[in-house]
């Protein structure tokens, strides 16, 4: 039988698998957009440049059909 006067041990810091510190969360959220842009930005630029290279160096030189 559990003793109801004893508080649960589930919330004790050593028993919480991922303790979230509000200040740490703030700090991480400040960095997240910069990280996403650093990754996705150059990739999108590479994609557009790659498409343009194929269009101008492969597709157009192959001649116009009609």
């Amino acid at each position: 039988m559990a003793n109801r006067d004893e508080p649960s041990a589930a919330q004790q810091p050593e028993n919480v698998s991922d303790p979230v510190d509000e200040q740490a969360l703030e700090r991480v959220l400040e960095v997240v957009p910069r990280g996403a842009i650093a990754l996705a930005g150059p990739l999108v630029i590479l994609l557009v440049v790659g498409w343009l290279l194929v269009y101008f160096l492969v597709f157009l030189p192959r001649g116009v059909v009609g």
């Binding site: 703030e26 400040e30 842009i37």
Partner: protein
């Protein structure tokens, strides 16, 4: 709250960046399309597939490449399970050639390697596409639409003939054998 505003601003900046990329691609496609008149081969012409071999245009004797009196070059090809007739197509170098395809059986498709020629061949329709070949030599024209068990064996050769070797006969016909 401050972070939420910062995230929103970042997302709007990202949306503007992506829109810029899409705009560049659209401007290039529409600009070159209008400047060079680039469009897919669209041709609406009906033909009865049951009597293709009796039609005036696609009888066996009329297939292949022919130079008209006005100098225009037209090639007529029948795509059938599992061959192109004729199997070798002679075309002149640096001259506009019009390809006309018809099929008596099922849907086929062709592309000519190293060019943008690419079209479907549907029973009941004449498919027409025009192109110019700047480089002499042989190139392959396979069927690219699965048409049955022999599909992988269905291909033809397009022989681009330099002007010095381009000699149409009295009827204006040119074949690979003569080139």
């Amino acid at each position: 709250m401050r972070n939420e505003q910062e995230l929103l601003r970042t997302e709007l900046r990202w949306a503007a960046f992506v829109l810029l990329g899409i705009t560049i691609l659209l401007v290039v496609i529409i600009g070159t399309g209008l400047a060079f008149s680039i469009h897919p081969p669209s041709h609406h012409e009906y033909i009865d597939p049951k009597t293709l071999h009796l039609s005036e245009e696609f009888t066996e004797a009329n297939l292949g490449t022919r130079v008209a009196a006005d100098g225009s070059v037209t090639t007529r090809i029948v795509a059938t399970q599992f061959a192109f007739l004729p199997q070798c197509i002679a075309v002149p170098q640096n001259q506009r050639v019009t390809f006309r395809f018809a099929t008596p059986d099922v849907i086929h498709g062709i592309l000519i390697a190293h060019t943008n020629v690419n079209t479907m061949i549907m029973p009941g329709y004449v498919s027409q596409v025009s192109a110019t070949f700047p480089k002499a030599g042989d190139t392959i024209m396979p069927c690219h639409e699965f048409c049955g068990l022999g599909h992988s064996e269905m291909w033809a050769v397009v022989r681009v003939v330099p002007p010095a070797d381009w000699h149409p006969d009295a009827q204006g016909r040119v074949s690979c054998a003569k080139s």
